[in-house]
Symmetry: C2
Amino acid sequence: MTVSSDLALIESRIADAVDRFMALDADDTIEGPCLTISREVARQALVSSEGGKRLRALLALHAFDATDPQGHDDDDAHARGRDAVLDLACAIEVFQTAALVHDDIIDDSDLRRGKPAAHKALGTTSHSASLGRGLGIMLGDLLATASVDIAHAAAQRMPRPDMIVSTFLRMHREVEIGQVLDLAVELSPLDEPERLARESMNVFRWKTASYTTIAPLEFALLASGRDPRRAHADAMAIGLPLGQAFQLADDLLDVIGSSRSTGKPVGGDIREGKRTVLLADAISGADQRQRRTLIDMFSSQSRGDDDVRRCIELFEGTGAIDRSRRRIRALWQGTLHAIGDLRLPPQDERTLTEACMRFIPIIKA
Amino acid sequence: MTVSSDLALIESRIADAVDRFMALDADDTIEGPCLTISREVARQALVSSEGGKRLRALLALHAFDATDPQGHDDDDAHARGRDAVLDLACAIEVFQTAALVHDDIIDDSDLRRGKPAAHKALGTTSHSASLGRGLGIMLGDLLATASVDIAHAAAQRMPRPDMIVSTFLRMHREVEIGQVLDLAVELSPLDEPERLARESMNVFRWKTASYTTIAPLEFALLASGRDPRRAHADAMAIGLPLGQAFQLADDLLDVIGSSRSTGKPVGGDIREGKRTVLLADAISGADQRQRRTLIDMFSSQSRGDDDVRRCIELFEGTGAIDRSRRRIRALWQGTLHAIGDLRLPPQDERTLTEACMRFIPIIKA
């Protein structure tokens, strides 16, 4: 299996599953605006599901390839197991889409993956911004239910289906709590930057690592027949630092990346005034004048293009960008160490390491 | 078991389950605003969970009492089954709370069950209306996940756990689609009132009957060991007309009830300009002048106290209120007929009939 053939499989299976979930029964008698709008929502479910990088699904699949004891047999057992993991992997991606749809409503974002955010698109087709928001909330709810439904069906084809479903629901819960923490961290004062950095790293555990790295690894290990407690401990050891490194790299990319590669304008987090580890590190590393500038900038109602430019210079000048790079490298070492602890055959270790490294392309730089 | 002892059981079990789900691990290192806000959200989860009439949970429990073949034995089997049904019944109530939290954000409602709506309460404690809305969206997501988690755990103690969970997820999906349809029906033109009435009755199937009557009955029948297809058919036959009658009665209560019994101001639906079956029936039964008045009133941006009064008079004068009563009575006959088809012993039939009748106290009038 190549990465590109796996990606094609993932993409088509997500589309099929979402389409099936959103389809109304043929015998239903929905008519008029109800028919039009429910079709628009179903169409938007597909549009919102497209365009992800599918890193989470690939991690689940490739971690399964690397750890399944039948992974080297050419027989049916591994293929059948892989097929169930593939569905579970798609369920994680559908859950991410659900979370992003709600996230974009909360942040009132215009764009997602280079296209209009779901609630904006639905606002356009229904000619009402508030109706678009309402439909967007329901679309997020529907996709969240779809994700559990897909995971539940996949679990029936795996060892210990009850464990798979509980783990999937735990992932839901952690991300949802993570979103609460992510909103709350914005209320953190800026005059204790070391604490802000610590709090932000903790938020990353809940809102990002939970479903980005820990859950995909845990599902792969459960599907490989590992004892559930062992699977959870190993998934945490590898996935927690990896997920935190991924979020740090993502925040870094917002500042040093190009709009083309992220699908978002450069410095979007700065413009929104987001409390990030980068900001905390910049304040920690700033002299008194720089510190004043940063705090004033992030205490004001909004930030323009000049502020964004000045802020990126300060992130550079105070050493915050370097510190984020160092943080990422240290976390990556933790992940490598935990992968080593699995004592996999060298080829499998390489497969797993590559699947993990995809989350932080910045590490090669 | 008396109704009041069942209600006490339901109430305490919901509070325990929600509390457990929202609690952060003791070893977690959340601090600062993250700690404060996440505690507020957990507290609001409990507050929002209080005060329901628990009709759905009672229906599940009492339908189980009436249909469980071991229902008359004094042995442990029925008690164990009933305990699992009780958890499942609580899961339905938690799901309702989740749906109401999102519904109140979509409608921007101030009050729910006589207390501030969740997003408003969270807006007050966090000193920001927009943060309150964001936290409210996440609270709804968390409670929806909690409901599946409670149902999944309960299902492991019942026959065919996979069927129970699939049915629970189908219920989620139907209500979520129902909310989409409920938003869409507001776009229906008023000049085809018979079609509007038909569309509204169809929306009731999705947004109300699905989780209010059909699912509680289906869970009870599944827990009693009925064949899943038979359980679904019977639950539909009894629950669909009952759920539609319940929603009609609820809409009627908005017009003829008192603010004290509903916890909402009289005529709230009229004030919001909601497309209801009552409105459709009023337009159908109106003469040309009344019709013009109603259409003008519901086409304008807002309606004041005088409009509400005039509208209620028109609902009365055009015969719409009588027609709703007749609709409710005809649907109730359908439910009674379907209960009869179960061929239960007389005492059990009475138990089930009483549990169903609680949804439409208006029928006694």
